[in-house]
């Protein structure tokens, strides 16, 4: 069985970000990238399935070459091999163009895949689009927010939790299929340094020379959406009235303020 995990080498939130003034998109080149935190749940999920059913786990990512260390650490976790789709023409992709490259990479290099696993969302884009879009490009069934799966013949049974409705749901899908793994539901295993030693040999880089995708359909050009403007978020300024000293006085002063603001309607 072949379990394909989609993992993004994301810009950690602690990084000072740079926006390309021409395209309005995030500059990823020259920025140290690390695996999107929620994709580790998907990787752990895939490793568990492989340990149970046999086969291999293949991580697939679209990123500049600075995404390689992120893939190395996934191999350290136990992923068997990784494919990095990387080419300058892929830069500036929206979720349509990203998922297109990922789907075409899977079709070409892992055509006999069993199940594709995506993270719930990325920390730097938070769209939760790419999983469903890969399923759409490949025309396969999919279910989001999965935390448990069981394979029976050419079908997969999944359990998922819808947080906003507070319900668990159970579905069966024909294989091949795609699931997104609910964030925080797995306990991602440690990275083993010995496994990581020759990780580089297990990472295959493919460019558009190999993928042969129409340059009009990838990257910024192949993106139906584009960023027309980007500005720093501004938040309403705060009053910063600080009450210290005698607690009773402080509370009285605060309640007075709340009354004035009309916040204490009976």
């Amino acid at each position: 069985m072949k379990f394909v995990v989609l993992t993004k080498a994301a810009v950690p939130l602690s990084t000072a970000i740079r926006i390309d003034p021409k395209t309005g998109t995030l500059v990823r080149e020259g920025v140290p990238l690390s695996t999107n935190q929620w994709d580790r749940d998907a990787v752990e999920f895939a490793l568990k399935l492989r340990d149970k059913y046999g086969g291999e786990v293949i991580a697939i990512s679209m990123a500049p070459p600075s995404g390689i260390p992120a893939l190395e650490s996934l191999i350290g976790m136990g992923v068997d091999r990784a494919i990095l789709a990387t080419d300058r023409v892929f830069a500036g992709a929206d979720t349509w163009a990203t998922s297109f490259v990922l789907a075409k990479t899977i079709e070409k290099y892992v055509p006999d895949y069993t199940l594709i696993l995506a993270g719930e969302e990325t920390i730097d884009s938070t769209t939760a689009h790419v999983g469903a879009q890969v399923a759409s490009h490949l025309n396969i069934p999919y279910v989001y927010y999965v935390y448990d799966a069981e394979i029976q013949g050419n079908k997969v049974r999944v359990r998922r939790f819808l947080e906003d409705e507070g319900v668990d749901e159970f579905y069966e899908m024909d294989l091949p299929a795609l699931v997104s793994v609910a964030k925080g539901t797995q306990m991602p295993r440690e990275i083993s340094l010995s496994r990581k030693l020759n990780a580089r040999e297990k990472i295959m880089q493919v460019t558009n020379k190999e993928l042969e995708l129409d340059a009009e359909c990838v990257g910024l050009k192949g993106s139906p959406t584009f960023v027309a403007a980007q500005t720093g978020a501004t938040f309403p300024p705060r009053k910063r009235r600080i009450f210290q000293g005698d607690p009773r006085e402080a509370v009285r002063a605060l309640v007075e303020e709340l009354k004035k603001e009309g916040l204490l309607q009976p």
Binding site: L13, I17, I19, G24, D94, T95, W96, S99, I123, T126, T127, H129, G131, A132, Q133, A135, S136, P141, Y142, V143, R157, E163, D164, V167, D168, E169, F170, E172, M173, D174, D214, E216, C217, K221, G222, P224, T225, F226, V227, A228, A229, Q230, T231, A233, F235, P236, R238, K239, R241, I242, F243, Q244, P247, A250, V251, L254, V255, L263, L264, P266
Partner: protein, 346 residues
């Protein structure tokens, strides 16, 4: 030049602002009504274009409610194969309806199910989509939809457009736009469509309501005007009892920081912040919360922020409207007492 995989379209043929009408089997979800209200605004700016709705496996009563809240036309998909929700089949069915009626704009509520469907529908229609918009406007120059959303953990606001493809699609989280008034005199048309389904690939096997251990029988954090939140500074689950009392007094609810959730004092559904909920209450009271940037991202749009913290140097103290420096065990009971007094009829 555009990607040859995208069929040529004539943008002039796409008219109206349509909404996916999610329901729970009994009634339309609030977010669907909120989007109908927004759709009316946008349609007004597009030469009084039509407002439409797509309802899968819903009733004519639900369609009528959509009309009362702003729809001119509602397409009800009546295929018995679609009686129960499955993502792949629903996404395909909705895409077929949208492809037939060709709205210029198509909006989806970003509930968990809505997020699951939205991007697949967009791809099937070979168009783009923007997730979790917090504002939607019409560009006065081009007439294009401006899809405004926070990105990069809320530190940036991006305006995104879909200039060459139609429909222009966006998802919007519940509670972002106000619910429009219900007008029983509004008239509209209800159309039944038996959408043809491709071979079924997903089977629904069952569902179970999860009994989540919650701290109190209080409304969800995203739908309250007053939110009292607790953090690691509470020191124990016991501390939340006081917050519950304060919240009830203010007709509000309780929320928690990530640290309080990790400690097991509150369920994840009550977490606010970057990896929890984004809320916009009138009043947010942070008790024993330091105000880390990831926490602030979820509450920055609160009208008023109050901090109760023993550390005058905690970031929240500098980023609030009113802060009381002190031990919450001393402050909260006094606050409850004083608010009761203030609210008592004179």
């Amino acid at each position: 030049m555009t990607c040859k995989l995208w069929p040529q379209i004539n943008k002039e043929e796409y008219k109206g602002v349509w909404v996916y009408l999610e329901h729970d089997g009994a009634r339309l979800k609030d977010v669907a009504l909120e989007l109908l209200g927004k759709a009316r605004d946008l349609a007004a700016k597009r030469g009084n274009a039509q407002v439409g709705g797509v309802l899968v496996a819903g009733s004519d009563e639900m369609a009528q409610e959509a009309i009362y809240h702003g729809a001119d036309k509602v397409v009800v998909v009546v295929n018995p194969e679609l009686k129960v929700y499955t993502p792949y089949e629903y996404a395909n069915a909705v895409a077929k309806v949208v492809a037939k009626y060709r709205p210029e704009i198509f909006l989806i509520g970003a509930t968990k199910r809505g997020r699951e469907l939205a991007a697949f529908i967009a791809n099937t229609l070979t168009t783009g989509i923007t997730a979790d918009c917090t504002a939607l406007e019409i560009d006065p120059k081009t007439g294009d939809l401006m899809q405004i959303r926070p990105t990069f953990g809320g530190t940036q606001m991006a305006t995104i457009k879909t200039p060459h493809r139609r429909p222009q699609m966006a998802s919007v989280r519940p509670g972002v736009f106000p619910k429009p008034p219900r007008d029983v005199n509004r008239k509209g048309e209800i159309v039944h469509e038996a959408v043809e389904l491709n071979a079924r690939r997903t089977t629904f096997l069952g569902a179970e309501k999860r009994i989540e251990h919650d701290i109190a029988d209080l409304p969800p954090v995203e739908s309250s005007d007053v939110v009292v939140a607790g953090g690691r500074g509470l020191g124990s689950a016991e501390g939340f009892k006081w917050l519950v009392e304060l919240a009830k007094l203010l007709n509000g609810t309780v929320a928690a920081s990530l640290m309080a959730v990790r400690a097991g004092w509150a369920p994840h559904t009550r977490q606010v912040g970057q990896t929890g909920k984004t809320i916009r209450p009138k009043l947010y009271i942070a008790v024993g919360i330091s105000g880390a940037v990831q926490h602030m991202m979820g509450i920055q749009e609160s009208k008023h922020i109050i901090a109760i913290n023993s550390d005058p140097n905690a970031p929240i103290v500098q980023n609030s409207d009113y802060a009381i420096v002190g031990d919450y065990k001393q402050i909260i009971p006094l606050l409850i007492e004083e608010i009761k007094r203030a609210k008592a009829p004179q």
